[in-house]
Symmetry: C2
């Protein structure tokens, strides 16, 4: 076990930050770490919008579903799929394929995680903000995103003012299959549900009487942001 | 600069490996690092299929477009969006939303990058294999993926038998915008094109007389895996 793996295994999403700033040098290292990540065919289909304008921060915190840490964190970064960059080089490119939106989403996740791990390695903390997709058109307009550029998620970064428990993850034997897909291991799931029930009951904030199976069933039985396909199409993405 | 950031900044995709194995302890740390990553609403929508069967490795190396390192690497992992897990808990879940495929793609990227950084921190190397999406139905059948579970990408891991140059990335000023989208900075792009032209001419393998603008224009002016939308739909994903 080395310090990098220790940092990664110690990850908790941080939603409460001190007033301390992130230095230019730290921010530079965080973004450089993101840029150093792998990129499918070197397409480099991500743009990051750093939000320093307090009015925009407040608007984004509201649009994300009243997540005040979006306004309070030292830094807030918005990760976008960006094929406008390529289209500005040549109008012959065809950004409309689902494949390219997938590449944008996967590669943005890869890039963002490098940023988060770099930040955490310096003692900073952060949290992904998928809630920006609650109102993608409004976020898009606020950031003046051009065609072929679509908002994916945000990331708060700052000096942690909380030290939350580790959240239990699915057991490795449920995530990792060998040679072919293995059906759901129900005894293992039952153990995990007991563990998550205990976690949700004991945690300091938002405690609830639910296990993982209840929680995800509730989340996934609803419509999941049913406007996302239309939003992507409106940006000229995922049309084919 | 700490060792974690050094590891991340030193990333090169490794496509040539020694015969050395990855120990169980190392593999365990790599997968544990992936599982420790953030997951949108704790949905945990990724499954990893570890391929140890040499026949399956050979078949995947072929399907990925003659990438022999898929067969040769010490480990080969296939990352899949997986809502079958949740559907096995409750048939009331609605996996068909584009939003959920996006979450699966982003979160799989985040998880996979934790795996790769963990591996690199131990002196191992690796490369993402998007080429599995050349023949998604065939890969899917080979891995026996059920409905609501779709192949995204692979990852080769092993002990590096090469030490390639760092590949130049887009300048930070082109990736990082402030408060709103900034149009393409053409002078900066011209500098980057000079840099990539020099890189592609000098690199030891696959050298070519092209810059980044030429390369991505050529890549993106073609149809990009036009069957991906149909593949996802066939898995019950991205239908809405």
């Amino acid at each position: 076990m080395n310090t990098t793996i220790e940092t990664i295994l110690n990850h908790r999403s941080i939603r409460s930050f001190t007033d301390a700033a992130i230095s230019d040098e730290q921010l530079n290292a965080i973004i450089a770490a993101g840029i150093a990540a792998s990129s499918s065919s070197m397409i480099q289909a991500t743009s990051i919008i750093r939000i320093t304008d307090p009015n925009k921060r407040a608007a984004l915190a509201h649009l994300a579903g009243a997540q005040p840490y979006v306004a309070q964190a030292a830094e807030f970064l918005v990760f976008c799929i960006d094929y406008q960059r390529h289209y500005s080089i040549s109008t012959e490119i065809k950004p409309e394929y689902t494949e390219l939106a997938l590449i944008g989403a996967i590669d943005s996740g890869i890039m963002a995680q490098n940023c988060l791990v770099a930040a955490e390695s310096m003692g900073l903390g952060g949290v992904y903000i998928g809630g920006l997709r609650n109102h993608p058109h409004e976020v898009d307009a606020l950031l003046n995103l051009p065609p072929y550029c679509a908002v994916l998620f945000g990331m708060c970064l700052g000096v942690p003012a909380q030290d939350p428990q580790l959240k239990p993850r699915l057991p490795m034997a449920m995530i990792l299959h060998q040679n072919e897909y293995q059906p759901l291991n129900k005894p293992l799931l039952a153990q995990y549900d007991q563990q998550t029930m205990a976690y949700y009951q004991q945690r300091s904030s938002h405690n609830k009487h639910q296990d993982w199976s209840n929680t995800v069933t509730k989340t996934l039985s609803k419509e999941s942001r049913p406007f996302m396909a239309e939003y992507f199409h409106s940006k000229g993405l995922m049309e084919k």
